[in-house]
Structures are given as C-alpha cells and as structure tokens.
Amino acid sequence: MAKNKVSFKLKSKLCELDNLCEQVERFGKSNGLSSKCIFEANLALDELFTNIISYGFNDKKEHIIEITIALKNNTLVFHIEDDGIPFNPTEADAPDMECTIEDCKIGGLGIYLAKNLMDEVCYQRCNEKNILTLKKNIDEAEPVKKRVKG
C-alpha cells in the first residue's frame, strides 16, 4: 500500500544526494506521481539541500537535515529542517535573468529554480532551526510554467 507520508534524515554530505533522489523516487512511484513531477520535486529538494550543506554550517561537524514528504489532497508538502545558520531562501535575491553570457552570474540560481518548481515556499526560524515548507500542486492540468520574480 502506498504510504502518503515519509520522513528521513540526511547527513550534511553531498553524497547524500543519491539517497535523497532514491527517497523522492520511491515516494513518487508508490503514490503514482508523474515522472515530470518526481523530476521537479527532486530538483527543488536537491537545490535546497545542496544550498544548506554548502553554506549553512560554520563548523566542520556533521549535521543532520530532516526531510518529510507528504501527499495531501493533490498537494505535495515538503518539510526541510536543519540546524544551520539562519537563512531565509524566500528573501534571497533572484539572479538577473536578462543577462548575456559574458555577465551571467550563477549565484542564487539553485534557489531560483526551487522556487519556480514549487507553488508555495514558506520559511520559519524555530528553536534554532531553519524550517522550510514547500508545496506543489499536482493537479493533472498543470498551468504553463511562468517565471516568477524573487
């Protein structure tokens, strides 16, 4: 039977991306999500996870990032929790989308992609932890993707 909620913990290491991908795929397949939806969920979580472990910790210690994926009434809800330095990705600057190849800066692109692939992104700082809640509607008739600012 499909489980419509799954929680797992990842260590603050890049090689955990494979684990993350596996978890998202297993959840997606057992809940009958489209491969496009699984791809997009994967990409958004990858970008946010990579961002946390690349910039979120000032020490060399190993940290745990906790992720929950749930499916409720055609909405995918993701929680990402980490004990890194306070960082609110919803306030991060968007990259300049009108740039040419010479002046194109890549900073902020990952967060920009993640925001674009989700319908809602919420940030809370609670008990010394960053808590991100992402929502993605999975209605069959998906609206045409539009580029969002910010």
Partner: protein, 110 residues
C-alpha cells in the same frame, strides 16, 4: 554519472549518462577543462542519456562555454530530454546557450 569522450573530425564530444548534480559536476568540469587546456576549440555535449541536471550542472556548462568563447571556440548542446531542457529554460540559459535537436544538427553547425 558516466562520461564518454569521443573525437570526431577535431570535435570533442562528451556523452553524458546519468545525473549531473553537485555530486558529479566536479568530475565533469575537470574533463571539460582538461580538453580546453589541451587546445580543444570545438565541443559537443550529448545529453541524450542524461536524465537529470541541477544548477551545479548548469554552472559547469556556463563556465566552460565562457572559457571556450575566450579562446574563440564553440560548444553546442544537443539531444536534451524534455525535463532537462526545461531546467535550461527556467534558468533562462536557453537564450544564450546553443541548444540543438540532434547530434547531426550539432555536427553540421561546425
């Protein structure tokens, strides 16, 4: 991710297979820049078997394209799967990176 390197008529071809993310992008960057250091001016990246790309992958391709351009070289990207292409589009990279349909189209562009 697997990277197969081939050479055809002086063009370096990189065939990617698997996932290009922050875990695998460094190895790919090394291979691209090794080729640029070795004097390669014409490159094709074959995306046919690439099932996934993140911003880390986009970053490497942008960096290599810039480096090649400085050397008067050129890089073409071909045969992308729809989801992968969508990532280039959301990032706005499709407006300045040469993405073509097939390997034949890419070879003919040189």
């Amino acid at each position: 991710m697997e990277i197969i390197e081939e050479s055809q008529g002086g063009i370096n071809i990189f065939k990617l297979n698997g996932r290009l993310d922050s875990n695998t992008s460094q190895g790919f960057e090394k291979k691209l820049f090794q080729a640029i250091d070795d004097g390669s001016k014409s490159m094709i990246i074959d995306f046919k078997d690439l099932e996934y790309i993140s911003s880390a992958g986009l970053r490497v391709i942008l960096k290599a394209t810039k480096a090649l351009k400085r050397e008067d070289g050129k890089m073409l990207l071909c045969d992308m799967q729809d989801y992968v292409k969508e990532v280039f589009e959301i990032a706005g990279f499709d407006s300045f990176l040469p993405i073509v349909g097939s390997m034949d189209d890419a070879l003919q562009a040189f």
